[in-house]
């Protein structure tokens, strides 16, 4: 005998909610899914009427469902928001070009304006070109740092007040575990916030913070939403993969574990004595940064100067190596030509990561004025 829906009790249930374990019919599931997101939006006071909200759209399931739900809720509950789709083109052939096609279809399906910003125009580098330089290791570092800025820049160009992203509960739980494993206390504190960046640039929020990835997939599946589901062709990050696998295994043992981890993240407090990185703005691009020069600028500098490892790992290590090389070259020149000493060689002491000495080096112009 088919089971009845636990909510309406009339129709036959067609699915078991991963989040609560209850059997629901299709309509009740849609309704519960949407209302929960509405609940999150209300309780966390994510938006105020009249705001322009940029939806970070990659064409994947999370952002497609996000765009759909935001539109539905905006109309149903009169948020009074102006919604726009914002995509970042990382320049990955065989992956992003295909997924952008999906976003373009979404643009028509949901009747929302779409803007695409590309790494190429912002930084002068596509991911394909970056991978050629750096190889398949650490390439995700570049992509992640650049994407964060690219979204912000795109949204600012469009005059948006906020950015919403499709990060779901699984993503956040995974990040909590990652940050525990890496001992990154600053990120551990930040990563469970539903809205980030309130004090600096555009606030970003995650309406799917309490939404299970599985439920997003179910929603997209039953609603037959048009989304793109291929993994990035450049291998995903190995260390995060461990955290991901752990979360998936946990979910099998106790499905509520994902929310439980988020609760843990929310209720952790950081010792007062622990020094936190202070947020300032980058002296080159004026984007929010915890160092004098932001990561993106350092990475870009590395790329443009043919030292792509500059932005990865311990900055001062690579920086010192480079300075030593330069100094050695300088000495050679001194021996050869006598005269002009290494006036342009700044011997950084290795401790002050990207300190005053480095400011004189600027981008060679390819980055179209970002740096």
């Amino acid at each position: 005998m088919p089971r009845k829906c636990g909510s309406c009790g009339v129709k036959n249930a067609i699915l078991k909610r991963p989040k609560t374990g209850d059997a629901l019919c299709k309509e009740c599931f849609y309704w519960a899914f949407e209302e929960e997101i509405h609940h999150t939006v209300l309780q966390a006071k994510l938006f105020s009427p009249g705001e322009t909200v940029a939806i970070g759209a990659s064409g994947g399931k999370d952002s497609t469902v996000l765009a759909h739900t935001m539109k539905v809720l905006n109309e149903r509950h009169n948020y009074g928001l102006k919604l726009i789709l914002l995509s970042v083109d990382e320049g990955i052939t065989g992956y992003r070009d295909d997924s952008l096609e999906t976003v373009k279809r979404n643009q028509q399906q949901y009747d929302l304006p779409l803007t695409i910003v590309s790494y190429e125009e912002l930084y002068g580098w596509t991911m394909d070109a970056i991978v050629k330089q750096i190889g398949l290791k650490n390439n995700c570092t570049f992509c992640g740092v650049f994407r964060r800025q690219a979204l912000d820049r795109g949204a600012m160009m469009l005059g948006a007040d906020k950015i919403v992203t499709g990060h779901n509960a699984d993503d956040i739980a995974e990040t909590v575990i990652m940050n525990v494993l890496r001992g990154d206390i600053a990120r551990l504190r930040r990563c469970t916030a539903i809205t980030t960046g309130t004090d600096g640039y555009l606030p970003r929020c995650k309406p799917f913070k309490y939404t299970y990835e599985k439920e997003i997939v179910m929603y997209a599946y039953f609603k037959k939403l048009d989304y793109f589901s291929t993994e990035c062709i450049y291998s995903p990050n190995a260390y995060r993969g461990f955290a991901r696998a752990y979360i998936k295994d946990l979910e099998k043992i106790r499905p509520s574990a994902i929310i439980d981890i988020i609760h843990s993240g929310e209720s952790m407090q950081v010792k007062k004595e622990v020094r936190m990185p202070t947020q300032t703005t980058c002296t080159r691009c004026h984007y929010i940064s915890s160092n004098e020069v932001c990561k993106a600028c350092v990475m870009l500098e590395g790329l443009n100067k043919g030292r792509p490892r500059l932005g990865i790992g311990k900055i001062h290590k690579e920086r010192r190596k480079w300075d030593e090389e330069l100094a050695a070259q300088g000495k050679l020149q001194t021996v050869d030509g006598g005269g002009t000493d290494s006036g342009n060689v700044q011997v950084a002491d290795g401790e002050t990561e990207s300190s005053a000495g480095n400011e004189q080096r600027t981008c060679s112009g390819v980055c179209s004025g970002v740096c």
Partner: protein
């Protein structure tokens, strides 16, 4: 989703580096073992290293006073045995600077939760008590099921009455508690509680909390204020991940710090937390320290048998490839702050309640989801009506004992038990709620302290309600 990986240095260790014969990093003699990432030590320097880590941890904290009597929780396992050996060594005449505290040992017998043959139980008990007696320190035994009847507030140490939950190894060589009938009843009760819990993870969590409370209670009755446990960094790393995965994020600092002061007058101290499992095992191996293998409920189980087991598999697996995993995790926990120990506490684990959270939080989000998918309806009207949640009859007490099990409110019965699981839930922390969720045993079988303290808290809340009109806004409830 790609990620931002800051630290490009995380690469698995190259295997050829591991097996090279090296000289001791301290004295230059041939090394006999490698610890940390690739530091080689000779036997003598390794001992100095381990002893230093142990003593430095105690010394730095300045918690243990001269001549203080401390209780050492001794399971008989490798870590406990190493701790015991380190203490013995530090108290011996040949020690460079003698340790100043006076230890007493306590072993909690947990055979009742395992399905082992009687002869095996007996063998384990005899072995443990042999190790304890050989140490020459005063030694006591207790049994986990006795935790069900303890009174947490009892402070006297008139240990001669029948309800005393511990007994000396000297007094009773047959290793049986003073009152066998009582413990047999309690054993039955404990197994019924464990059966009533919904998963192995819950059982494991419950057993751990019960054990801790039993040890604290005994320490209190014997007049100790410090309990030394032998949790090593590997154990703590697993604990941290388990805690985070079970919604105990706010308790990580308590559960894994050097000291845990949540129980007020009795404090847990973890003097070997700077050493990892490998170091302690090597220490045991090198200095002929004898230990017992005590199985737990997930022994021989799958990696997915429980959350703790999974976390263990995960951490030890990562540790094999990334040697800094455990120390990274433990360092994270060291940066976490303690919750306010003066606030209302969980009636089971005694950690400050973490359930008073804002409206935009994981806890409220789950409550809302449950409300929607159980008592809601597709109509828009019922979203806003709070009545669906306020009904305390069968609907909200899903699996309370005595309910017809429909869970839809149709039977309208109220279970006859005095306290419902649901009522206890309000006085539990998030983590303990998870453990007791869907508990389908009788609430009367739960530890006495849980039920009595819940009653007391409810009573207090009732009183507070009566005088609510006369209370000023900022009057704090102690």
């Amino acid at each position: 989703m790609c990620s931002v990986e800051e630290d490009g240095d995380l690469q698995p260790l190259a295997s050829e580096k591991r097996n090279k014969v090296k000289t001791c990093v301290k004295c230059g003699e041939p090394g006999v073992l490698i610890t940390r990432i690739h530091d080689s030590f000779c036997k003598a320097c390794f001992q100095v290293y381990v002893v230093h880590k142990f003593r430095a941890a105690i010394g730095k904290s300045k918690l243990i006073r001269d001549g203080e009597h401390v209780l050492v929780a001794f399971s008989g396992g490798a870590n406990s045995a190493a701790l015991l050996h380190l203490i013995q060594d530090g108290l011996s005449v040949r020690a460079h600077k003698k340790l100043r505290f006076i230890p007493t040992l306590l072993h909690v017998d947990e055979c009742c939760v395992l399905d082992l043959p009687q002869s095996e139980n007996q063998r384990l008990r005899e072995k443990v008590s042999q190790l304890m007696t050989e140490s020459g320190f005063p030694s006591y035994l207790t049994s986990l099921e006795l935790g069900l009847n303890i009174d947490r507030n009892k402070k006297d140490n008139s240990s001669q009455d029948k309800t005393c939950p511990f007994w000396s190894t000297e007094r009773d060589v047959t290793l049986t508690p003073p009152d066998v009938d009582v413990t047999d009843d309690l054993k039955v009760r404990l197994s019924s509680v464990l059966q009533g819990l919904s998963s192995t993870s819950s059982r494991e969590d419950f057993i751990r909390n019960l054990r801790n409370q039993l040890i604290v209670c005994i320490a209190r009755q014997m007049g100790f204020t410090k309990i030394l446990t032998a949790e090593c960094s590997t154990r703590l790393g697993v604990r941290i991940l388990t805690d985070v995965s079970q919604g105990r994020g706010s308790q990580v600092a308590l559960n894994t710090g050097f000291s845990d002061a949540r129980n007020g007058d009795v404090m847990f101290v973890r003097p070997v937390r700077d050493l990892n499992a490998k170091e302690l095992t090597l220490y045991n191996n090198m200095f002929g320290v004898d230990s017992v293998f005590i199985p737990c409920i997930t022994t021989k189980g799958q990696p997915g048998a429980s959350i703790e087991r999974l976390a263990e598999t995960f951490v030890t697996g990562l540790q094999a490839d990334f040697a800094s995993t455990v120390s990274n995790i433990v360092r994270t926990s060291e940066k976490l702050g303690l919750p306010d120990l003066n606030s209302t506490k969980c009636v089971l684990c005694q950690s400050p309640l973490d359930t008073d959270v804002g409206s935009a939080s994981a806890l409220r989000a789950v409550e809302f989801s449950l409300k929607l998918s159980r008592a809601g309806g597709t109509g828009s009207s019922s979203v806003s009506s709070p009545s669906t949640n306020g009904d305390k009859s069968c609907t909200s007490t899903q699996s309370a004992p005595g309910c017809c099990g429909q869970g839809d409110g149709s039977c309208q019965t109220r279970p006859p038990t005095r306290l419902e699981t649901e009522e206890i839930m309000d006085h539990l922390c998030f983590g303990c709620r998870l453990s007791l969720r869907n508990f389908n045993g009788s609430t009367e079988s739960l530890p006495v302290f849980v039920t009595t303290e819940t009653e007391a808290a409810r009573q207090r809340a009732k009183l507070r309600e009566e005088i609510a009109d006369f209370l000023l806004e900022d009057a704090e409830d102690s």
